[in-house]
Symmetry: C2
Subunit: 340 residues, 2 copies
């Protein structure tokens, strides 16, 4: 059973080994980061990478009183969202006090006496006391590779539906292993705790002499940045373009509760559906408290292979403390239907 | 187009027409109730009926400072839940200060000079200043009956999938009209705003010369009693018994967020599945903030006809502010699988 997980991507750039250039992937790296912050000397922080880890760390550094900048190569942070939805998250960070340098590439670090003093991009140099790297992860397959086990999508360990590798009797699960995407119907790599848990359960049953299969994933992920909840599932526009799937999309704004109910917050929902067939392809949500877990309805619809027309008559829960009469995800589905 | 709604059930008992015996179904009845409370003379309130309206009114009267009792014929309030889940809601009301008289039937009112002074059950007499009736509704079909239009389930107006009645060219939608239950595959009557909205949309499209069908409902409903969220979907045990469907069930306790996350509250989930086939039949949720809308995942699974085995691999959203790694509804599904 190979469960070697993933390793954080570390850029092969001068100065990347300097003190206070921190990845955040293990308990030890968190302790180290905390130690530097607790020493009080760090006033200016730069986060490299606008994914889940990068955004959570940017928020945390602001809360610790640092002056924080974030660098990302994409036009908006949170590249797992389409740009129009990612823009809402970028604005949330700016409103919270994070300076964003988007469409900029990290080119190196400046150091002095083994300590980092600056972050260099293709457009500028930023003086800095601490750098946090959130550049994503790659599957940790050193052991599998040495054993001659075949690799698949993004270098993850190829597995069949029972989580068995290409070498009989060797199993793999978690961030080192491949998944299957139920919407694209193709192999897919995603490093998330939920997927690792479900894969591990299947591998364990099979290792123990039972029989279980892992059908695959639809790419659901949720996070919280400051007070804003962010969620996504299915395929996003750039994936659909690469797959040659034609789509229609709609973005709607609604409220998390009945409009007149105390605490009703804004929610923005984007839904993507296949041109012609109307098959749901994916969805994205950015909004206030009560927004994120609505993605589960869209994810379940993806598992079911529902069209957006079928979504209109979903019998979802309504009461003023929880939702408008038409749930925002259904309102978005109704809008897409008009564009098929 | 017949959209005559529903009328509150009013008991044919002596004194039911006395001042301060209030149903709550229209804006006017709400204004009248408010007027009596604002006059300050009411100290003791009795609510008859432990459904959504009864519980919301009991809470409201306690918040207005009244000494409140609630009478219901069932062993627990909220009869749309199984008793083991309804018990959690009964306890919530008791903790909030409502005295419950369960398994008691209303037999009459005591009045003096046209004002209500007591509520009489088969077990006791309660002195009272104001009585609120929450005994449910029946479809308002006076017009349809006079026109000779056929009635169906619980006296609601029979309609086909396009919301057309048995009389060609006459349509019906909302609380006066019949629905179809997608789990029992039988006609069903449910008076809820969401269902009325979806039925009205379908009837309107057809009236306007278009073509739309209303597939049916799965019986989803949510409410909030004090700080506790309550949700249900699908068939409950007493319905399954009447339908001759054999079932297995599981009740699990989990948390609304990761256990270590601030504000994680308790959530109890019950899932019912068909013996042998494993087909999901229904689910019920009682818990703290963030509990109720999880019913949407179960409702969508009912629309999809999923088995509880299929639910185990649902790719739902996880992050510590929103859920444990295994969403409570999936944890409940996993437990039922063991009992099929």
């Amino acid at each position: 059973m190979i469960a070697t997980g993933a390793v954080p991507i570390c850029p092969d750039l001068p100065g990347a080994d300097a003190v206070a250039v921190c990845g955040v992937s293990t308990l030890q790296s968190g302790i180290e980061l905390r130690r530097i912050l607790d020493s009080g000397g760090a006033k200016r922080g730069v986060v490299v990478g606008g994914g889940y880890i990068g955004l959570e760390m940017a928020e945390a550094l602001v809360r610790r009183g640092l002056e924080v900048s974030l660098i990302d190569r994409s036009p908006e942070v949170m590249g797992t969202l389409d740009d129009d939805m990612g823009q809402l998250v970028s604005q949330t960070l700016r409103d919270f006090g994070v300076t964003l340098y988007l469409e900029e590439a990290l080119t190196g670090f400046e150091t002095k006496g083994g300590n980092v003093t600056g972050v260099v991009t293709d457009k500028r140099s930023l003086p800095v006391d601490i750098v946090v790297l959130g550049l994503g992860v790659r599957p940790n397959t050193a052991l599998a590779t040495a054993a001659g086990i075949p690799l698949g999508e993004k270098g993850s360990i190829q597995v069949n539906g029972r989580m068995e590798t290409g070498m009989a009797g060797i199993w793999a699960a978690g961030d080192c292993a491949e998944s299957f995407h139920l919407v694209s119907r193709r192999p897919f790599y995603i490093a998330l705790g939920t997927v690792a848990n479900r894969q591990g359960r299947v591998a364990g049953i099979n290792l123990g002499g039972g029989y279980a299969t892992f059908p695959g994933v639809v790419g659901t992920a949720v996070t919280k940045i400051c007070q804003v909840e962010v969620a996504r599932t299915g395929l996003q526009e750039k994936e659909l373009g690469m797959l040659g799937i034609e789509w229609a999309s709609a973005v709607i704004k609604s409220r998390t509760k009945a409009g007149y109910y105390p605490g009703a917050g804004e929610i923005t929902v984007k839904v993507l559906a296949e041109k012609g067939s109307g098959r749901l392809l994916g969805g994205q949500i950015v909004g206030m408290e009560g927004s994120a877990k609505r993605i589960d309805t869209l994810a379940t619809c993806l598992h079911a292979g529902f069209t957006v027309e079928e979504m209109i008559n979903l019998d979802l829960g309504y009461a003023p403390p929880f939702s408008p009469v038409w749930d925002p995800v259904v309102t978005a589905a109704r809008e897409v239907v008009k564009k098929l």
